[in-house]
């Protein structure tokens, strides 16, 4: 059985007032960032518990993988193909097929991370519409206690500079990190990155998490829309793309799946459900 991990649920919450860091005055909307061709300077930054990365990424898969490939730079050894495909399947994608369109490189030192962003991004040979690059657990390797302050500062600056450079290409960026200790200036370049910033919080029950949208101009419903699978995307899919498991883009058929708004309408906050046995509930 491909999908064996524990169930995960995601709920969308209204905007939170507990924003961990200030946002730009007029960020692009998340929908723009995630469901349409990427405008220059668009990137999404998510503060989240490390372990949520694969499930959240799977939740975003429908939007991210539309005519694109997803490249994950895994700095925290968190990319879990099972959790990813499980979450993606709930969004209506064939878990197995999309695994061929997601590429991963794992980094175990900050120097490897630097080498990846400088030498392997943007990935060559990707599809025409520009790849999505997910930097998972960007902060993790920089938390290593034995690192010298100057060294980690220099490498983080180099990594962030390169990511900012990528923002000027057609690469779409997603950066995830765990909440850093408060008042540590070191993390500022990372915290200030991203035209859209949000946070994923653990929910009250085991396996739940909540994605918050906050800050002026960032619309939580956009995030909801994104998590709901991008109904506009669905409309925009080429004929036959919804045809079933073989095409990798099977639409949701289960009752517990999010109710998608149509024609710009928004459904109430909804959830992503992933059954423990891999089947939609």
């Amino acid at each position: 059985m491909l999908l064996t991990r524990a169930a995960c649920f995601a709920f969308i919450s209204p905007m939170s007032s507990a924003s961990p860091h200030p946002l730009p005055q007029r960020p692009s909307s998340l929908r723009d960032a995630a469901t349409s061709a990427p405008p220059a300077g668009s990137s999404l930054s998510l503060e989240m518990p490390r372990r949520a990365a694969s499930a959240v990424l799977g939740g975003l898969a429908r939007a991210f993988l539309h005519e694109r490939e997803l490249y994950c730079v895994d700095g925290a050894n968190v990319f879990d193909p099972y959790a990813f495909s499980q979450a993606a399947r709930v969004r209506g994608l064939s878990g197995e097929r999309i695994l061929d369109r997601v590429f991963v490189t794992r980094t175990f030192t900050i120097h490897q991370l630097q080498a990846v962003v400088e030498e392997m991004l943007p990935p060559r040979g990707g599809e025409a519409s520009g790849p999505v690059v997910a930097m998972l657990g960007l902060d993790h390797l920089f938390r290593e206690e034995t690192l010298r302050a100057a060294e980690r500062g220099r490498v983080l600056a180099a990594v962030m500079a390169r990511l900012r450079g990528l923002e000027r290409t057609d690469t779409r960026l997603l950066v995830t990190y765990e909440r850093p200790p408060p008042r540590e200036r070191f993390w500022r370049p990372m915290l200030e990155f991203g035209t859209v910033r949000s946070a994923v919080r653990p929910g009250t029950a085991k396996g739940e998490f909540t994605i918050e949208g906050y800050g002026n101009g960032t619309d939580s419903t956009d995030i909801q829309h994104l998590l709901a699978g991008g109904d506009r995307l669905l409309e925009a899919l080429p004929p036959g793309a919804e045809g079933g498991a073989e095409d990798g883009l099977r639409p949701p058929v289960h009752q517990g799946a999010p109710a998608h708004g149509r024609g710009g309408e928004r459904s109430p906050p909804d959830s992503i459900r992933c059954g423990a046995d891999g089947d939609p509930p």
Binding site: E96, V116, E119, E151, A158
Partner: protein, 762 residues
């Protein structure tokens, strides 16, 4: 000029000299110095390297030697690099990062090795090498080896060893010593007065001049307290043999780190100069394999004994690889930058797997055969040329690695593979010598060869982990994955071969299989092993034939099998058990010993039916042990529970026994860290006042008494494991009501009371 013969006892850098201590054949100890400046290389953009060279020279940190060529590890091709001589080896670890920060595009090679390692690599010497030494006026002139690093019959130097121990308290902000004892050759001196301790110990050290000071807790407690006391009282305490004063920083905090999913604690280090301080509690190799094992690792790794004693076993295997690279002119990168190539998530799903485990068929069996691959992972690495630079090399395309299709280079022999080969061969040689010693009844030789082969075993065990270890210089995740893929393939082939010959596989676990066949003949097994070895190209050996064997179910989910939870008795009566209570470190000795006593009795049963007839004996023993617990006849030290802290004591929030004990430690001011061991006694497990449920042994007093109900529960749990094959279960939830225990001062074993572990168990 003088000449002497002896052993290279110790070495350490001092300024731009290496200080060498020799244990002379006649018993003398000789201190010599040898001018030495470690060599390093730098590459990268030429203008950056040139600027860096100028800066190094201007600051006097290193002397440029000019441009040269060395071999790039990844490509195997020559690469131009600038050679430098490090002028201040002692401070180089601090200055190197500063230069690296200033010139971030410069690539550094061979730059962060220990000066002692560099000296050994360059001069081709090693600690404990027997050698002929020429010297003059305290300076080494020449060093000629008289044994080989890979020799198996070398002699260790005769050393004078003293055992230092102390009693004291770690409570409060300032740890204190109540008494200090030095034991040497049967004589023991104890000092009870703080004012006398330092002076007495110093006089004893000057008089006895030991080569080795052995302690248990010297790094975490004894030496920091002694140095702090010396600082406070302005006493010139000099435990070193080196007459020159050595700068030391007194620290009591070590570091906690994760390894294989467990948090471990490494105490601070208090090495001595010119003599060794070895702390059993801060040395894995010393604790497991004694001095013989430690010597073996130090010789092969070319790292001084005191230092390798305090390092993980992986440091040893890593140093062997570094030495090989050094001698062959392969550049050793300072920072690991080679990233993993992109792979699809589907590929990741296939490749990111461990060894293959077939869950056991839960039950109680007779005549089970266990076959084990001999050093499977190192053998795969060695025989199939798995090394970071050979996996997915740019020059070949053969997709040789089963299942995941990675390519293995056909043109180069990998560094890691070549480094492993002689270790595997040496271990085989030691095992043969051990068998010979067993045959002749030479206990000394048996112990020596056993310790040496065991130390090598640990090296081989961790060489696979090191391939995937993020800080391993010669590590690469794809190589790690390739080894696992091969191991899975070999277990599959083994299963097919066994089944083709009519065997049924009950269980397999990464590198071993348990098989059964009705009415098989023992003569069939060598042919089966040979066929498996031939098909897999890996050596496999018969571990043994069990007369009976129990594969136990999960405790939480009784209908679910659990790998590595079994026990059984071989036909020669030897027991083998894994994953049961007597193997657990967090069970009290008394309970573990009780379970083991039941198993030892069971080992006399010839078959499953005989096992079941022993149930009344088991129950009688259990009843007696329960009585001893109820009557308070069990010495307290046998009821101590020792658990490793998975986090710092103040971070515990639950109400389990460990959490309560950890919080008790934090409240009492015990300076414990994550990874350290916590010792406590269950005193009143059901008490409403949670603070009374457990008592730390450090806080135990005359009023502390164990809770018999809690220990009877543990006893029954352990007993139920042994009773499971007979279908008998004792109630673990409702032990008999508590009687007021009598406090016992007994410290010796009573009749019927289980003994500690014995040696013949595997």
């Amino acid at each position: 000029m003088s000449t002497t013969t002896g052993w290279l006892f110790d070495l350490y850098a001092r300024g731009n000299e290496m200080v060498l201590w020799f244990a002379e054949e006649g018993g003398g100890r000789l201190r010599l110095v040898d001018p030495f400046e470690p060599r390093a290389f730098l590459g990268g953009p030429a203008e950056d390297a040139a600027a860096c060279l100028r800066e190094l020279g201007r600051r006097g940190d290193a002397a440029p030697e000019g441009w040269t060529e060395r071999t790039d590890f990844w490509t195997g091709r020559p690469r131009p690099v600038a050679s430098i001589r490090v002028l201040r080896a002692e401070s180089w670890t601090r200055t190197l990062p500063r230069h690296a920060e200033r010139f971030p595009r410069v690539a550094w090679y061979n730059a962060d090795l220990l000066p002692e390692q560099c000296y050994c690599f360059e001069r081709d010497v090693y600690p404990l090498m027997r050698c002929r030494v020429e010297h003059e006026a305290g300076r080494l002139l020449s060093l000629a080896p008289e044994d080989g690093r890979w020799a198996v019959d070398y002699a260790a130097p005769p050393l004078r060893t003293a055992e230092l121990s102390g009693e004291g308290s770690l409570l409060g902000s300032r740890p204190r010593l109540r008494s200090l004892t030095l034991a040497h050759e049967g004589r023991t001196v104890t000092w009870d007065e703080p004012g006398e301790m330092l002076g007495g110990l110093q006089r004893a050290l000057d008089e006895l001049d030991p080569d080795v000071i052995l302690t248990s807790g010297g790094d975490s407690f004894l030496f920091p307290v002694l140095f702090a006391l010396a600082e406070r009282t302005k006493f010139p305490f000099r435990p070193d043999r080196d007459p020159l004063p050595q700068p030391r920083e007194v620290r009591t905090d070590g570091r906690s780190f994760f390894s294989y999913g467990r948090i471990l604690y490494q105490a601070p280090e208090y090495p001595l100069f010119g003599r060794w301080h070895l702390d059993r509690k801060n040395s894995f190799t010393l604790a497991h394999d004694g001095m013989e094992g430690l010597f073996e690792v130090a010789r092969l790794a070319r790292i001084p004994v005191q230092r390798i004693a305090r390092r993980s076993i992986g440091t040893g295997i890593s140093s062997i690889q570094l030495g090989m690279a050094w001698r062959e002119g392969i550049l050793i990168p300072w920072k690991k930058t080679a990233p993993e190539a992109w792979k699809s998530a589907r590929q990741l799903l296939k490749s990111d797997r461990g060894g293959l485990v077939y869950a056991p068929e839960t039950g109680f069996y007779e005549n089970v055969v266990e076959l084990d691959f001999v050093a499977m992972y190192p053998s795969i690495m060695s025989r199939f040329n798995v090394s970071p630079e050979t996996v997915n090399c740019p020059c070949c395309r053969n997709e040789r690695v089963p299942e995941i299709g990675y390519t293995i280079c056909e043109r180069r022999a990998g560094l890691v593979s070549r480094a492993l080969r002689p270790i595997i061969e040496k271990r085989v040689h030691y095992k043969a010598l051990r068998a010979e010693a067993a045959r002749t009844g030479d206990k000394g030789a048996y112990g020596r060869f056993h310790a040496r082969q065991d130390a090598l075993k640990w090296m081989l065990v961790c060489c696979f982990g090191y391939l995937g270890y993020r800080n391993a210089r010669f590590g690469r995740i794809e190589a790690h994955e390739a080894v696992s893929a091969w191991s899975r393939e070999m277990i599959l082939r083994t299963r097919e071969i066994c089944e083709a010959r009519g065997w049924h596989m009950l269980h397999s676990n990464v590198d071993c299989v348990w098989i059964v066949k009705p009415d098989f003949r023992e003569e069939e097994i060598p042919a089966l092993s040979e066929e498996i070895a031939s098909e897999t190209d890996l050596p496999i050996a018969l571990e043994g034939i069990y007369k009976w064997l129990a594969f136990l179910p999960s405790r939480q989910v009784p209908d679910r099998p659990v790998p590595t939870r079994y026990f059984g008795a071989f036909r020669d009566g030897t027991l083998k058990y894994r994953g049961i209570e007597c193997r657990r470190s967090d069970y009290p000795v008394y309970i573990k010993s009780a379970q083991l006593a039941l198993l030892e009795h069971a080992a006399t049963a010839p078959d499953a039916a005989g096992y079941r007839t022993m149930v009344p004996d088991f129950l009688a023993k259990i009843e007696e042990w329960e009585r001893q617990l109820r009557e308070g006849e069990v010495p307290m030290e046998q009821l101590v529970i020792r658990q490793s802290l998975s986090q710092d004591p103040e971070d515990y929030t639950g109400h389990g026994a460990q959490s309560l004990a950890a919080r008790q430690a934090a409240q009492a001011g015990l300076n414990l860290h994550a990874g350290e061991t916590l010792s406590y006694i269950l005193t009143s497990a059901g008490d409403r006042d949670r603070s009374r449920r457990v008592r730390l042994t450090a806080l135990a007093d005359a009023d502390t008494s164990p809770d018999p109900r809690a220990y009877i529960r543990l006893l029954r749990r352990a007993a139920n494991t042994v009773l499971w094959p007979a279908g008998v279960t004792l109630d673990e939830t409702d032990p008999p009501p508590r009687k007021k225990p009598r406090r016992s001062s007994a410290t010796t074993r009573r009749p019927g009371q289980p003994d500690l572990f014995e040696q013949h168990h595997r």
